[in-house]
């Protein structure tokens, strides 16, 4: 059994003008993750330390933090990959509540604005859907709402006035858009209201996603392309409007 030094960011904005990093010495165990170490501090050294976690299994997305400057899940980051001095800070893109806990509630306000999954009304029930048709949407459904992608996105971080919803929300919209029975095209909404145009495809979000979702390639770029086609390409506008008319006619027949 060895030991590590854990530097944890401490600040209560109501009391402290500035935050500071406090060092704690923590004994290590085989297979230990950063969350184990932080919880060691909480239970044995200072119970007033504020942190957020829930499942300790990489499934709930509660324990997001910046570990050695990289947005990561505390419960999925192994100690032995990091050396014996580890720095844990809260996510910088969100207002601080206390210590490692940030206010991520704005994300749910954005989710409320994304048009909800709206299935075809006349589809015979129970629905028949081929496995292959669910695959695209399925990738996005693995999102655990850890908001690490939001944290790393420089548009969200540095241009809060841009109105850009951020990668998590494009993934959410894409998951509904790519549902085989959905009837709404959200790309127009993403372009006009969610600031998708601000994303310049740096792929930082994709790099930090603990679920390995190809956020940029599979969600952002296709949604951008759809929006561009819909808005700016005269030929596809004609094709789309014809297709919609045809669909409407077919639906009418059923």
């Amino acid at each position: 059994m060895g030991k590590i030094t854990l530097s944890i960011y401490r600040r209560d904005p109501a009391v402290d003008a500035e935050g500071k990093f406090v060092d704690y010495e923590v004994p290590t165990e085989d297979g230990m993750v950063v969350l184990d170490a932080v919880k060691y501090v909480e239970t044995n050294i200072d119970p007033t330390l504020s942190l957020r976690w829930n499942c300790k299994a990489g499934k709930c997305g509660s324990c997001s933090a910046e570990i050695n400057y990289k947005p990561s899940l505390m419960c999925k980051t192994k100690i032995d990959t990091l050396g014996d001095h580890i720095r844990v800070a809260p996510m910088g893109a969100f207002p601080l509540i206390k210590d490692l806990v940030t206010d991520v509630s704005a994300n749910w306000d954005l989710l409320k604005k994304i048009p909800i999954f709206t299935p075809r009304k006349d589809e015979p029930k129970p629905w028949i859907i081929a496995q292959i048709d669910i695959e695209r949407s399925k990738e996005f459904k693995t999102c655990i709402e850890c908001f690490l992608c939001q944290d790393v996105c420089h548009v969200v971080r540095e241009h809060s006035g841009s109105g850009y919803f951020g990668p998590r929300h494009i993934v959410k919209a894409a998951s509904a858009d790519m549902h085989p029975l959905d009837t709404i095209d959200r790309s127009e909404f993403l372009d006009a209201s969610a600031g998708l145009g601000y994303c310049n495809i740096t792929k930082c979000c994709t790099e930090v996603c603990p679920e390995g979702i190809h956020i940029t390639d599979n969600a952002i770029i296709p949604e951008k392309e759809r929006a561009v086609n819909a808005f700016y390409d005269p030929i596809s506008i004609i094709v789309r409007s014809r297709r919609k008319k045809k669909e409407a006619k077919n639906n009418g027949k059923q």
Binding site: D12, E29, T43, P47, T48, N54, P126, I134
Partner: protein
């Protein structure tokens, strides 16, 4: 001194935002009342998010012979004949509709080659019955419901911890809570309250449960006069991870066995052939968990004190598509590639079958204005829960509780809570803010170690008595805990507030286990190894003054038409 708090009014207050709470919110809102949901963690993060294997519903998509009657029989038989027949009937009949409805809300289930919802085999289900989304069914369920709730005008307070239910005479009329991020107190005035706070697995040391599962709802309801039932029935899941130490207890889904995984001891023997020649690795959880335990105790365990679970023979492609999150879990946390190596597993505390006693159709409790649904409610699972029946439970009875509470609230009026009650409660919460108090985590550590050591998978009179003494001592010590800092986002304070609830759960489990002098379902006593016909009863727990009183009550008699569907009980 008058305490400051924020006053809030709603028709239906739902405590808990797991699957049960969120489904209840949708039902209540759609029936036309004002709905407020509170949860102690963030929206979408509740324990339900961890569920893996699937939702049990007899769609008959793979096995045409399946129908609600078979599901009903499986549920009653594996519950060892003490579950409530009406709840089992409602579950079996309504689960398919709830699954289709979830699909129409946007959930995308895996498909059969014909494009229907795919169903996998699970322990003690006669047919392949579990509708699933890979091995992340809980995530899909909760995100789908979250989206529906967000797009309705449901008021949501997350990271708000309810500390007490408020009463007027014999009625529940609201609740007091602490908002963690601001440290402010809230008083909710409500016509009806639904408790949907999940289980109490965290009172054990080795558990698959998330941090939320501290038995809060049991404590809240019990203190408000509600009856609890069959608390001794704690489910040990046969396969928790055993190594490394930090992930001890983390669940390995039954889907692994459902999809062909087999259990082996250190001698390479497929020992389930000995314990259960017919159902083998896919027998009910109580049987497989005890078999694993027996093998480990007999010295045929693995180096880290488990048994082996092997699915390598299925091939890498199959494993990665059917069990993607198990593959990742072992790779990330244990450094084990389950397509090439065997997993090491041992029993882990997983689910409470007991809980608040409810009326099957409306989920109302014996206290007016108080309803309960999900893992915190009891009756459906009896002595043993079938895998997949919990996600079905939270959808079926979550919806029913939303409707039940909404109906009730339409005929109820708001009542003014007593100022003294509110002030006393706020003062109680604040009393934990003190210097030089006992660290709450010490008590939790002692309690959970005590439960794991003495109230485990095999119980004896001696161990149970020992456990009870420790619990009563800890009850005495519970008021001496405290923390520094202030009310805002103070997890240590939260621990102080959870302890009394954890102790109520623990005391009930132990007292029930002492009373049930037989072995039935999840409850096994080495000093009473047989099932006793005289104890085909439910155990009821009630608060009398400061005491917990127990009573044996007959299991409600099944009507003839249902009796015909069920294999008769054998002794």
């Amino acid at each position: 001194m008058t305490e400051k708090y924020i006053d809030y009014e709603t028709d239906v207050l739902i405590i808990g935002a797991g699957g049960a709470g969120l489904r209840a919110a949708i039902a209540a809102y759609d029936s036309g009342v004002r709905v407020t949901v509170v949860s102690k963690s963030l929206l979408g993060k509740a324990h339900t998010v961890m569920a893996e294997g699937g939702i049990a519903a007899s769609l008959g998509n793979l096995d045409k012979q399946d129908n609600w009657e078979v599901h009903f029989n499986d549920t009653v038989v594996e519950g060892v004949y003490i579950s409530n027949w009406r709840m089992a009937e409602l579950l079996a009949r309504e689960a398919p509709d709830r699954v289709y409805e979830l699909e129409e809300y946007g959930a995308l289930f895996d498909r059969t080659p014909e494009g229907k919802i795919s169903q996998r085999a699970f322990g003690a289900h006669t047919y392949r019955r579990l509708c699933h989304v890979g091995d992340r069914t809980g995530l899909e369920l909760i995100k789908t419901l979250e989206d529906q709730v967000l797009h309705r005008d449901v008021k949501f307070f997350d990271e708000l911890y309810i500390t007490k239910l408020l009463k007027n005479g014999d009625k529940v009329i609201g609740a007091v809570g602490l908002k963690l991020n601001s440290g402010e107190f809230y008083v909710f005035r409500a016509k009806a309250v639904i408790v949907a706070t999940g289980g109490c697995g965290r009172i054990y040391k080795i558990t698959s449960n998330s941090w939320e599962s501290t038995g809060d709802g049991l404590g809240l309801a019990f203190n408000a006069g509600a009856e609890l039932m069959d608390m001794e029935m704690i489910q040990f899941h046969p396969t928790g991870m055993v190594y490394p130490p930090g992930v001890r207890g983390l669940l390995v889904t039954e889907g692994v066995r459902g999809d062909g995984g087999i259990l082996l001891n250190s001698e390479g023997e497929r020992f389930m052939l000995r314990y259960s020649p017919k159902k083998k690795d896919l027998d009910a959880r109580d049987i497989v968990a005890r078999a694993n335990y027996a093998e480990i105790m007999a010295g045929r365990g693995t180096p880290h004190g488990g048994v082996y679970l092997d699915i390598t023979h299925k091939g890498a492609d199959y494993i990665k598509t059917k069990l993607p999150s198990m593959y990742a879990q072992f790779k990330d946390f244990a450094g084990v590639d389950i397509t090439k190596e065997k997993m090491e597993v041992a029993p882990t505390v997983h689910y409470q079958m007991g809980g608040i006693k409810v009326d099957p159709d409306t989920t109302r409790t014996n206290v007016n204005g108080l309803f309960a649904a999900g893992e915190v409610a009891s009756g459906l699972h009896g002595g043993n829960r079938l895998g997949g029946n919990s996600l079905a439970d939270i959808l079926v009875f979550g919806r029913r509780s939303g409707l039940g509470a909404s109906d009730y609230s339409k005929n109820a009026t708001f009542q003014e809570p007593s100022k003294t009650d509110i002030e006393n409660e706020i003062a109680r919460v604040k009393s934990f803010m003190k210097q030089d108090a006992r660290n709450p985590y010490e008590i939790i550590e002692e309690l959970s170690q005590n439960m794991s050591d003495n109230v485990g998978i095999i119980r004896t009179e001696t161990n149970l008595q020992k456990a009870l003494i420790t619990i009563l001592e800890l009850k005495g010590a519970a008021s001496s805990v405290g923390v520094r800092g202030d009310l805002k986002y103070n997890k240590g304070l939260l621990a102080c507030l959870e302890i009394p609830n954890m102790l109520i759960a623990a005391e009930a489990i132990v007292r029930g286990a002492l009373t049930r002098k037989e072995s039935r379902g999840a409850h096994a006593r080495s000093d009473f190894p047989k099932k006793d016909p005289k104890l085909k009863k439910n155990i009821i727990y009630k608060r009398m003054g400061d005491e917990m009183k127990l009573e044996l009550r007959d299991v409600p008699e099944m009507p003839e038409n249902l009796k015909k569907l069920v294999d008769p009980e054998e002794y």
